[in-house]
């Protein structure tokens, strides 16, 4: 079992930034050498030296001493010119300048090539999905007859096409705007429906980007009473099994124990967990844990861990789930006497929980009150969330898990965003099943790999992430942690 690490302090983006900075240093030194060469050359034809040379030939010097002075003058002049010339400052200017140019050209070449590949892939996805959208009646008939996955499986000659070819999800999700275009081309009624839905969701039509496409789909669904959310949210403290079982060891020992706690949380309906970790200075660090989707019906019910929250948050809209999680954190901090304190907060979640965590980290209203320093996601499509660069993000993804691919985009490669990918194709527990590849238990195993890499210091990005997040784990805690669980319930139109 091995993991692949992208981004972070040892990632490519940082390397390219480092190289750009290096090119600047090299160029500055090259300029300095050019200036030095000119200065040395200007020093060489000294009238003083000419005067000394002439005087050295006079009898007053004596022939031996005169010759010695002449040799010393010539030697000094030669050394000066040598330091200025091609073997000296002038040569250094050329060498450093050419290295600076090569480094800068390499960085720019890589960046433009990557942008070009990304643009052409994006265009390709839009074209493919526009064609699929235009031919939707044929696809619908086949899907109804055979089952959607069976149709794709038939085309690709495999029983579990999404597990075997996870890139299919990238094509579909990345090409959502194209799909919307294609659908409107095929049927003017869909064009009208889309326009109304876009109007309802406040998004442009036809959609030009992923958020608009998901927003339009949500808008269309809401016209039929689906994926709609109204009312408010109620947050109630409930006994936590984690607190009663092992209160003294409640602070996670590492990423794996954080993910195992996530698994425990997922087994309880509509729960959000807040873990308080005491710090040496008397303040606390806080972990907010959000589970994945528990209700798959497209109608919002009392449990906000549902499809409605999934779609709303992916469309960049607000959701009662995140409001509830924020209230849970407020309640926990108030219970600890630290209401409104600028304590560091880590937001973690599996699947929908990770989406909600990333969404909260981007929410200006939430971050104005709470100092979000870390986000940890497992199996969540979070690449499109504009998480501020000062927030450290760690994303765990499985290559065969379709869910983190639902945004059709790779996570940003930047100093503060580390993405760990594990190939679970040969994992005995997964045994080729798409659903298992997404399970939080499997992600706990991936987290064990991360912990091992941190212990062994085999990856700079992970080592730096662990060093920066120490205060959230047992190794950085000053005393036992306090675990508080909260039931989060939608009330109002959909409530009980």
């Amino acid at each position: 079992m091995t993991i692949d690490v992208q981004g972070g302090s040892g990632g490519l983006a940082v390397a390219l930034d480092d190289l750009t900075a290096a090119a600047r240093v090299l160029l500055a030194e090259a300029d300095a050498m050019g200036g030095l060469a000119l200065r040395l050359v200007a020093m060489a034809p000294s009238p003083e030296l000419v005067r000394i040379a002439l005087a050295a030939t006079l009898p007053a010097f004596g022939p031996r001493h005169g010759a010695e002075v002449l040799r010393a003058a010539a030697g000094a002049e030669w050394l000066l010119l040598r330091a200025a010339g091609p073997g000296g400052a002038a040569g250094r200017e050329l060498s450093l300048g050419s290295l600076a140019a090569v480094v800068q050209a390499s960085v720019e070449g890589y960046r433009s090539a990557e942008a070009g590949v990304s643009a052409s892939m994006s265009l390709g996805r839009q074209v493919v999905m526009a064609a699929a959208g235009a031919a939707w009646p044929v696809g619908l008939a086949a899907a109804l007859g055979l089952g959607a996955e069976a149709v794709v499986g038939e085309l690709l000659g495999t029983a579990d096409p999404l597990f075997e070819h996870p890139w299919l999800v990238d094509v579909v999700s990345g090409g959502l705007p194209g799909l919307a275009w294609g659908l409107t081309l095929s049927d003017p009624r869909l064009l009208a429906l889309g326009a109304v839905a876009a109007l309802a969701s406040g998004r442009p039509w036809p959609p030009g980007d992923y958020g608009s496409a998901v927003g339009a789909a949500t808008g269309a669904a809401s016209l039929g009473g689906l994926l709609r959310e109204s009312g408010t949210v109620r947050v109630t403290p409930v006994p936590s099994p984690a607190a009663s079982s092992a209160p003294s060891s409640a602070a996670p020992k590492g990423l794996a124990s954080l993910l195992r706690a996530q698994d425990e949380l997922s087994a309880m309906p509509a729960r959000v967990r807040v873990v308080e970790i005491p710090r040496r200075d008397g303040t606390s660090a806080w972990i907010v844990q959000l589970p994945g989707t528990q209700e798959w019906r497209p109608v919002a019910g009392a449990n906000p861990l549902d499809l409605t929250s999934d779609v709303r948050l992916m469309a960049g809209r607000s959701a009662l789930l995140t409001r509830g999680a924020a209230q849970a954190l407020d309640a926990a901090m108030a219970a600890s006497g630290r209401a409104g304190a600028p304590d560091p907060v880590m937001l973690t979640g599996h699947s929908l929980g990770g989406i909600a965590a990333a969404s909260m980290a981007c929410d200006a209203e939430f971050t104005r009150i709470h100092r979000v320093t870390h986000v940890v996601t497992a199996g969540s499509p979070v690449a499109r969330f504009p998480v501020p660069p000062e927030v450290s993000v760690l994303s765990l993804e499985h290559r065969q898990d379709a869910v983190p691919r639902l945004d059709g985009e790779r996570n940003p490669d930047r100093a503060s965003w580390v993405t760990v990918t594990r190939d679970v194709a040969r994992d005995r527990d997964v045994s080729g099943r798409l659903g298992v590849a997404h399970e939080v238990r499997e992600y706990a195993e991936t987290a064990e790999e991360v912990d091992a890499a941190v212990r062994e210091g085999t990856d700079a990005s992970l080592s730096d992430w662990a060093a920066g997040s120490r205060e959230f784990f047992a190794s950085g805690a000053e005393g036992p942690a306090v675990v508080r669980d909260y039931a989060v319930t939608r009330i109002g139109e959909h409530g009980r």
Partner: protein, 83 residues
């Protein structure tokens, strides 16, 4: 023994000036040396580090050459001034 030719402040100060220039080049070499601290791990990164180390050595050689020229001018000034 006075040779009747007194070196001007220009000649006397030349050694000092060259040493100062040498020190500046050494500072530059230190800046270049810092470039090997890239976190990037790859063969290309290793090649870049090797090139930076080479450039740093060359800078230090130039600083030494300036010191050598400075010493030569000091020696000349001493010869002219006092034999």
């Amino acid at each position: 023994m006075n040779l009747g030719v007194n070196p001007s402040p220009e000649l006397s100060g030349r050694g000092r000036e060259l040493r100062l220039l040498g020190d500046q080049v050494r500072l530059g070499a230190r800046r270049l040396g810092g470039l090997v601290d890239l976190r990037w791990q790859s063969r290309a990164a290793e090649a870049f580090r090797a090139r930076v180390r080479h450039e740093t050595r060359e800078q230090l050689n130039l600083a030494d050459a300036l010191d050598e020229a400075a010493a030569a001018f000091d020696r000349l000034a001493a010869l002219v001034h006092g034999g």
